[in-house]
């Protein structure tokens, strides 16, 4: 041991610079990636400062006037604030209640399929929409649901029913988004649960069969408890992401008729900031959203750690 210690302290003593010179090629490999994070992730963080300015593109950040929290006050006293909060939470909660349980149910069903071929065929089909862009999903929705020439309305008309306003009905807009999310992601969501189920000891099922448990009881008493940890962790994480409603999805499905229920933080920032050029105000809105999101994720993570042994970060 005595022979080792001086060597160890010697290895620790060279300064950072010395070790960078020694392993310079290793650091050169890291350089492009590090530059990426520096330029495209950290540099914009300086831009947050314009939320506290009256930023003018002509004057630049250096010369624009500082106004403190004025934009935040304007936002919080604006009725838009309540609307955005309600819509964001509403869409998120719809997802939580209607979407979240589905992958669990779906994977329970898939887990019971005996024919490997049938199972894989079903999986191939229900995973596919995950890889399609929101532009495609929105386009498909329009083709199926539009009032004038959507397939479903064509059929309703052909059978003598009234045509339905699926796309411009503010009462159904959140549900429409949720159904889209389900179609796109519910199948993909089963992967995690199926993997957890694959880890269940088959002897447990055998023992349960000996005790006379039928399929449903086996599901309830063996499969579900086996994936409970995964469910809890994913649920908590989902709660941390509650400020995140897919920008592209909402933006693409948005139209004048549903503006009251379809505007969320991100689409608002885009419309007011990029389209109307109110850079400072919309940066303040974006910053508010990011900060609340960060707090929620950190809170959710500490909760997840309390439940699961591993935690997330």
């Amino acid at each position: 041991m005595q022979g080792v210690r001086p060597a160890a302290s010697k290895a620790a003593s060279p300064g950072l610079w010395r070790s960078i010179v020694k392993d310079k090629y290793l650091y050169m490999l890291a350089l492009p990636g590090l530059l990426y994070f520096l330029i495209f992730k950290y540099l914009p963080m300086w831009g947050i400062l314009i939320a506290f300015q009256d930023y003018s593109p002509f004057l630049g950040m250096g010369k624009s006037e500082w106004v403190g929290l004025e934009h935040f006050q304007r936002f919080f006293s604006n009725p838009d604030f309540f609307m955005l909060f309600r819509n964001t939470m509403g869409i998120s909660l719809m997802n939580l209640f209607l979407f979240f349980p589905l992958p669990i149910v779906l994977s329970l069903l898939l887990n019971e399929v005996r024919s490997e071929l049938y199972k894989r065929t079903v999986q191939s089909i229900i995973y596919l929409p995950h890889f399609l862009s929101w532009v495609i999903i929105a386009s498909l929705s329009f083709m199926l649901l539009s009032r004038a020439d959507g397939v479903i309305n064509q059929l309703l008309a052909a059978f003598g029913f009234e045509r339905v306003d699926f796309l411009t009905n503010p009462d159904g807009f959140w549900l429409l988004l949720t159904i889209q999310s389900i179609w796109k992601e519910a199948g993909w969501g089963t992967i995690v649960f199926l993997a957890a189920m694959a880890g269940v000891n088959p002897q447990l099922y055998e023992a349960a069969r000996m005790d006379g448990a039928n399929r449903l009881r086996q599901m309830w008493h063996i499969t579900l408890p086996a994936i409970r940890n995964v469910i809890v962790i994913l649920l908590i994480l989902r709660l941390g992401d509650i400020m995140e409603v897919g920008f592209e999805q909402v933006f693409l499905m948005y139209n004048g008729a549903v503006s009251e229920v379809g505007e969320v933080f991100d689409t608002y920032v885009y419309r007011v900031g990029v389209q109307q050029g109110e850079f400072s105000y919309s940066t303040a809105v974006g910053l508010f959203k990011s900060l609340v999101g960060l707090a929620l994720v950190l809170l959710a993570n500490s909760l997840a750690k309390r439940f699961g042994e591993e935690g997330v970060y």
């Binding site: 990426y36 914009p44 314009i50 083709m143 991100d266 900031g273």
Partner: protein, 290 residues
């Protein structure tokens, strides 16, 4: 016992039926779009619902491909998907590899900084202003550069490189390779399965690029396929395809739209079988999150 076996049988069949129905519901929109895109325009106009066309036709496809805008947009997206993916893979794997090496000083701090970018973003406007400052507005490189990599990918890939022992680097060093040479000659060939999985994910995400292109590319000549589709299908602006040969009679806009959707989905469906081999594993790594 027999009654229980019968109950089991019934359960199996009901289960298979429910899953079959779900698969049909999932597949129907795609099937319908595919079929209508190949349907003879006149037949389409006559029927309320075409489930299997009597007369097939390529009219919509040949019309689309004869427009100036559509092939151009396909080219832009193909460029994004190939060049973007290659750049992403090299940058991501190189950074992830170095972060997995214990002799890399400061790697914990770097990882913490990378993790922070996942949790907090400055928002749309500061990003937009940065691209403007860099004079990258209207440059296709802006779309590649902003989504070159992400904290998740770096951290996931680092997990993969953790499994490659550092003794391998030492052996390469003894053989006279510096780290860059040994990365390209030894480490990258060893990580082919990971490169395939991540490469396919990158390629799909570049092919699907919409929002960044919308933000940074105002010039319609540089639009990728997703932005053109949005203009054509959702905004229904007829001019988005550009001037077409006046002698060519356009097919009904519906079959045209469906053909456009089919072309935009085709590359995804083409790589899907390869994707499938890898994605369950990829998604699992993602679910554990670092």
């Amino acid at each position: 016992m027999p009654s229980k076996r019968l109950g089991d049988r019934g359960f199996q069949m009901a289960n298979a039926a429910v899953l079959g129905l779900l698969s049909i519901v999932t597949a129907f929109p795609l099937y319908y779009v595919f079929v209508v895109s190949f349907t003879d325009p006149i037949e389409y106009l006559q029927k309320p619902l075409v489930l299997f066309p009597e007369r097939w036709s390529l009219a919509s496809y040949s019309y689309l491909l004869s427009t100036p805008a559509f092939p151009k947009a396909l080219g832009v997206s193909a460029f994004l998907a190939t060049v973007g993916t290659a750049c992403s893979l090299i940058v991501t794997s190189a950074l992830a590899f170095t972060l997995s090496r214990r002799r890399m000083r400061g790697r914990r701090l770097i990882q913490l900084c990378i993790l922070f970018t996942i949790l907090f973003g400055p928002g749309i406007i500061p990003n937009y202003l940065l691209i403007k400052e860099l004079s990258l507005i209207n440059s296709i490189w802006s779309v590649i550069l902003v989504s070159l990599t992400s904290g998740w990918y770096v951290i996931l890939m680092r997990g993969f490189y953790d499994g490659i022992p550092e003794e391998l680097d030492e052996a390469a060093a003894i053989d006279g390779c510096n780290d860059i040479a040994s990365f390209f000659r030894i480490i990258l060939p060893l990580s082919l399965p990971a490169l395939a999985a991540f490469g396919l994910f990158f390629a799909v995400s570049f092919w699907n690029q919409y929002f960044n292109a919308l933000l940074y590319l105002n010039d319609s000549d540089k639009w990728p396929i997703q932005v053109l589709l949005q203009n054509m299908l959702i905004d229904a602006s007829s001019s988005s395809l550009g001037e077409v040969d006046p002698l060519m009679k356009p097919p009904p806009s519906e079959t045209l739209k469906m053909a456009a959707v089919v072309i935009a989905i085709a590359p995804i469906v083409a790589v899907y079988p390869f994707l499938q081999k890898h994605f369950a594993k990829g998604a699992m790594v993602g679910s554990i999150k670092g």
